[in-house]
Symmetry: C2
């Protein structure tokens, strides 16, 4: 058996080049024109996983992009690890802010690979494929069955992966789930993510007059949908920056005191956090630390707003309509479906005469907190210590990976989120990048994890 360090020394360049091939496919899932590119990414994975010895199937799903499913040759009686990832990426606009690279022409700089999807999630996902490639070449691979489930609708907001899991629980049956789609606490802190926020995303459209009107002739009497959109969404927070929708906090569960204290021991750098995004200070819920605000507390953010005249110069109109895309991050036990009903009622109650509303649900999923006391958590920690050379920390993350809650409820509570990306990687933004050191350390961690989980089961 070839030691992993030696294997990586020989193969690092090939692995990087293969990852670059994958990154060049503009698999933006939410935009119609990229549907064929998403299929290309799925087919690329099919070839890649077939080549290393997996049997691969592309499943059509009710959302737009195929689900890639693969399994290693069956070892009877061995435990099963399901590796999850997604091949789709976020849109790339505004393009003019991509100063380091063109989004789909990955470029290496300062030890990082720049390009859309490098950090979220093609780079981390590929570290698991690389580990599989390593093990499948070894004469004595661990006593472990491995399945891959790689979706193409994670970024689009209309993922049906959860439904796929629900409907294919037998196919996906496993003892462990592992994924790398979260971020490290900070550089130098290998991290296992043990908490995620949920999400509820909406698009609200308010319609007023049948067409744009002259604001001189109609202004003062005809209700302006842009004004009303601002009034309603601008009324979301109270003076403590808490969300006003009645009952919003009723089911919000606080962390146990000991976990809160452990969290507060982590050296979270408020000033560095703000300066990394170019501001001096921020705004958030009263009586919460910045670290708590971004990980274990719910939020409300307008993601985009549009209405009326947006071109050069001015146009003095009352716009016919206005709309906003916005999202809440949710924490365990908030119920996204309850929120949709409460939100809809709350908006409706504020709607003045002359305006009609349309509220579309774009995405919904609950938050998650994992149990740190499970043996597999310790196996994951040992693997990461092997891969990165120091013990990991356990972190709670502010983002949402909707399918993880489904895994933990439907397949197994043994969900392992091994974080290889950095918060500063600009996932979802311009100049997204991924540390090549973390890439290599990640592969080592993944390789070790196969061993640890096969042994874990034997114990």
């Amino acid at each position: 058996m070839q030691p992993i360090a030696e294997y990586l020394a020989e193969n690092a360049l090939n692995l990087k080049n293969e990852l670059i091939e994958f990154l060049k496919i503009p698999s933006i899932s939410c935009q119609e024109e990229f549907v064929p590119e998403c299929r290309r990414a799925a087919e690329w994975l099919e070839r890649c996983l077939t080549k290393i010895g997996f049997s691969v199937t592309l499943y059509p799903v009710s959302s737009r992009h195929p689900m890639v499913y693969a399994e290693s040759p069956k070892i009877e009686g061995a435990p099963t690890l399901l590796i999850y990832g997604h091949y789709d990426v976020q849109p790339v606009d505004p393009l003019d802010l991509w100063t380091e690279t063109s989004p789909f022409e990955p470029t290496e700089k300062n030890g990082c690979l720049y390009g859309r999807g490098t950090s979220d999630d093609k780079g981390p996902l590929y570290s698991h494929i690389a580990a599989a490639a390593y093990w499948m070449k070894q004469p004595n691979r661990p006593n472990l069955n491995v399945k891959f489930l790689i979706e193409g609708d994670e970024e689009g907001g209309d993922s049906t992966a959860a439904l796929f899991v629900e409907e294919n629980a037998d196919l996906l049956a496993c003892d462990y789930v592992v994924l790398s789609d979260s971020t490290q606490f900070a550089p130098g802190f290998p991290s296992i993510t043990c908490g995620l926020r949920g999400i509820a995303a909406y698009e609200l459209t308010l319609t007023g007059p049948v067409q744009d009107l002259h604001s001189g002739m109609f202004g003062g009497a005809v209700t302006n949908p842009c004004n009303v959109l601002c009034e309603i969404l601008g009324n979301m927070f109270d003076e403590n920056h808490r969300i006003r929708i009645p009952g919003f906090y009723d089911e919000v569960r606080r962390l146990p005191q000991e976990d809160l204290e452990a969290m507060r021991l982590l050296p979270f750098d408020d000033a560095g956090f703000f300066s990394s995004v170019g501001v001096e200070d921020g705004l958030g819920e009263a009586d919460m630390t910045v670290h708590e605000r971004i990980t274990i507390r719910p939020t409300f953010d307008i993601n985009g707003i549009t209405g009326g005249y947006q071109g050069e110069g001015g146009k003095t109109i009352i716009p016919a309509w206005a709309s906003a895309k916005f999202s809440f991050r949710l924490v365990p036990n908030q119920d996204a479906e309850w929120l949709t009903a409460a939100l809809s009622r709350w908006i409706q109650e504020q709607l003045p005469p002359g305006i009609t509303m349309k509220l579309d649900v774009e995405a919904q999923s609950g938050g998650l907190l994992l149990d740190l006391k499970r043996p597999c958590m310790k196996a994951a920690a040992r693997s990461m210590e092997f891969g990165f050379g120091c013990a990991p920390v356990f972190t709670r993350e502010g983002g949402s990976i909707p399918i993880v809650a489904k895994f933990s409820r439907r397949l197994t509570p043994n969900v392992l989120m091994l974080a290889y990306s950095q918060k500063t990687d600009n996932a979802h933004g311009p100049n997204e990048h991924f540390s090549l050191t973390n890439f290599i350390h990640g592969i080592k961690t993944n390789v070790k994890l196969w061993q640890e989980l096969s042994i874990e089961e034997e114990n």
Copy 2:
């Protein structure tokens, strides 16, 4: 001398065709790409007025589009009438709502001419050119010197026409000003406009993080400029729908009781007003009628708002910036410059940490109320009765014609606003149109006005 009725019977088709030529020039003043078209419109006017016997000069002005100035051959000792209009038009988007015609291919339907600028202001302006063409052909034209001042920056919001008047008061010296850039009270009510609202238009840009951020990783702590824009602009009205900026109403002058009562005698149709724009009801200042709200009370309207992701699907970001174009309509004696300072302070005071603001002034002008007791008002009323066959009403209008206040202060208080357009003409909106009956009646009114004003002076 040929009677005007006979002249119109012979020439109506030619006049309409010449107007159509003028309308076909897409002289959108606020968009850079149409700068050459605005010049074409000015040059078209130059040829047209030269042909009928005026001497014409195109003056460069500090805003973008030339000022057209023309004068009739000088009659010593005769009074002078200055005719004002504008050759520029509003942008045409959203294009897909132009169901009756392409904006710059004027089409005749149901007794109206459809196309951008038909009603605001090329059609009404051309009715004055047609009157001039008539009189210049007659052997005994009235004892009146006539000047035209036609600008190309009225719709752009950055008009420097007021400055031009200020700097060229000698050139423009006159005893009367007439313009047709306002609207009739209702169809069948020939109208003389005796009040206008002023305007103060702004663009507010709020900037937050240096780039769009992942709302999961940063949401809850980094201030969201879209959220803040909604909070601030959404806070503009109090529970009585009165504007919250401290001091905003301090200088608002109420109409004298008798004028208010005369206003209330006009058969303003609230239900028809709302249903004409496709809504059942509206929203406005407490204790005011709909007619008052749209004519003699100040307003606040967001004209356009933009920020964050506006494409297909969702993108869960905190946007780096958000901006809104908005405008206040002002009434006599509100001071737009005072408002700019007060508004800026009011926004600044609400600005949370992590956000910077930029407030640009797009347009500023005061409101106006004319004295109904002046003899020229009666001359105008007689002219309109001749042109339309019934006596006109005096109306106050909610729109703004910034230069009119300047005329009345710098040149003469004898300003006559003869309204030929209808409120339902869709000025500034899609399917703008202009009644051809009003066009012909307008020409007759204008022809009569030359006589009336020359006699008026003799009396």
